[in-house]
């Protein structure tokens, strides 16, 4: 089954085309590493896939539906630049809130299970504003995964994560892919991305300069794609 089908997507910020003629297709169970320099359009593309922004042109189908379809959104998990957690709510309240928003049957039970999974069960009633950076990161990971999404959109997920959070995220992504969930992650951490990805896309100034299965060369030399298809 096709998880994401993008056909000729264009997105402008004013007169500047942030995305140009983006077309690709990703099947369920595949993991796409979205590569590119800063400003290449990775975050813009992820925001469009998440339904947070609309393309000015082109057709996008996410999990067989429009990206703003509530059923699509219920099946998407997002981990962006911000942790998307409320500072004045406790860890448990935050997870219960998002479990309720995603229509999870027993939000409290699900929230408690994820707090346990992320090692935050002992501080479940503490406010997020009292958390260390690493604890916030783990809670944000729990927030993104707690409704068992079938499509995961991760925007530079490994950036500024501590070792424990990286290990947690890698484990969860491995499990998600084993369940045949689809993962799209933008990243500058090429080694971590190459370990997970089945496909690679390289964006350069809003255009896809490469899209396809992960080249074997990238396992030993992650920068290979930049040298051959991107700017030097």
């Amino acid at each position: 089954m096709t998880a994401v089908q993008a056909n000729n997507l264009w997105k402008y910020y004013g007169d500047y085309p942030a995305l140009r003629q983006i077309s690709f297709q990703l099947e369920t169970g595949q993991c796409l590493a979205l590569l590119g320099r800063n400003g290449a359009g990775k975050t813009t593309l992820l925001r469009i896939l998440a339904g947070l922004s609309r393309p000015q042109q082109g057709i996008l189908r996410v999990l067989g539906r429009e990206s703003r379809d509530p059923n699509s959104r219920a099946s998407i998990g997002i981990l962006g630049h911000g942790i998307a957690l409320y500072e004045e709510l406790s860890a448990l309240e935050n997870l219960k809130l998002f479990a309720s928003l995603y229509g999870v049957a027993d939000p409290e039970d699900r929230a408690r299970r994820w707090l346990e999974r992320t090692g935050l069960d002992t501080v479940s009633d503490s406010l997020v504003r009292e958390f260390s950076r690493g604890m916030r990161q783990r809670l944000a990971i729990a927030r993104a995964f707690l409704h068992e999404p079938v499509l995961l959109l991760l925007d530079e997920p490994f950036t500024s994560l501590d070792d424990r959070a990286i290990k947690l995220l890698q484990g969860l992504l491995g499990e998600a892919l084993a369940r045949r969930s689809t993962v799209i992650l933008s990243t500058h951490q090429l080694r971590e991305a190459m370990e997970l990805s089945t496909h690679v896309a390289l964006l350069h100034r809003g255009q896809l300069t490469f899209y396809g299965e992960r080249p074997a060369e990238m396992l030993s030399d992650p920068t290979w794609l930049y040298r051959t298809h991107g700017e030097s």
Partner: protein, 226 residues
């Protein structure tokens, strides 16, 4: 049923956050009471004139204090990119908007219900005899104020001067609701009931609420996504 559940979840989240910090509530309450106190120095509180302008005075205080609550409605979603997480969730934009409006409505009602006895004491006025009708007017007018304010709070959330822009944009839009609220409040405080010719203001409030709630629900998705 699903819409109602989503509205309750969003409103509950906003109210829990607010009651924990009390940032908006304390600011709005203090501001409204300060306005009432200052006006009591500016005019003779025992004069008949003040009875005739009681509605105007009260609703000016509520409108100014309300802007403080409305300004924070979507602004509290900005830290940590929480607004993105809400918009990306399967909750409809209408439910998101109604949940926020409901929370703001309740907070504004708290400000009004605290200020009313203060007003009664400062200006030596009795409003207890008319409290059911007064409550109806407050509920209807506050919803009108809230529904417009919440919509413009979403529109201005990313503006640098949003604290200034929001009141500038919402007060002109609120004029019909504020006029009706002022007129009805004055009539209820100054006289013993609403004369038949003044029921038109109640109908205006109901119409205002229905029209602007429908418009806000219809436009919520466009406002949130751009």
């Amino acid at each position: 049923m699903k819409l109602l559940r989503e509205v309750c979840v969003v409103a509950g989240k906003d109210l829990r956050s607010e009651f924990r910090t009390k940032e908006c509530l304390n600011a709005a309450l203090s501001f409204a009471i300060v306005i009432l106190v200052l006006f009591s120095f500016a005019v003779d509180p025992s004069s008949e004139q003040i009875r005739e302008m009681s509605g105007g005075l009260l609703w000016l205080a509520f409108a100014f204090a309300g802007a403080l609550i409305l300004n924070q409605s979507f602004a509290r979603e900005l830290p940590n990119d929480c607004l993105d997480a809400l918009v990306a969730s399967p909750v409809s934009a209408a439910a998101l908007f109604l949940g926020k409006a409901a929370a703001n409505w309740l907070l504004l009602m708290i400000v009004e219900l605290v200020c009313l006895p203060v007003f009664g004491v400062l200006y030596n006025m009795s409003w207890l005899g008319q409290w059911p009708l007064l409550l109806l007017v407050f509920l209807l007018a506050s919803w009108g104020v809230t529904v417009i304010g919440t919509m413009f709070s979403a529109l201005t959330v990313n503006l640098r001067l949003r604290e200034l822009m929001l009141p500038t944009l919402i007060y002109p839009m609120m004029i019909p609701a504020l006029m009706a609220a002022m007129q009805l409040t004055t009539v209820l405080i100054a006289t013993s009931g609403v004369p038949p010719e003044d029921w038109i203001w109640v109908r205006l409030l109901v119409g205002f609420d229905i029209i602007f709630t429908s418009l806000a629900i219809a436009l919520a998705e466009v406002v949130l996504l751009g």
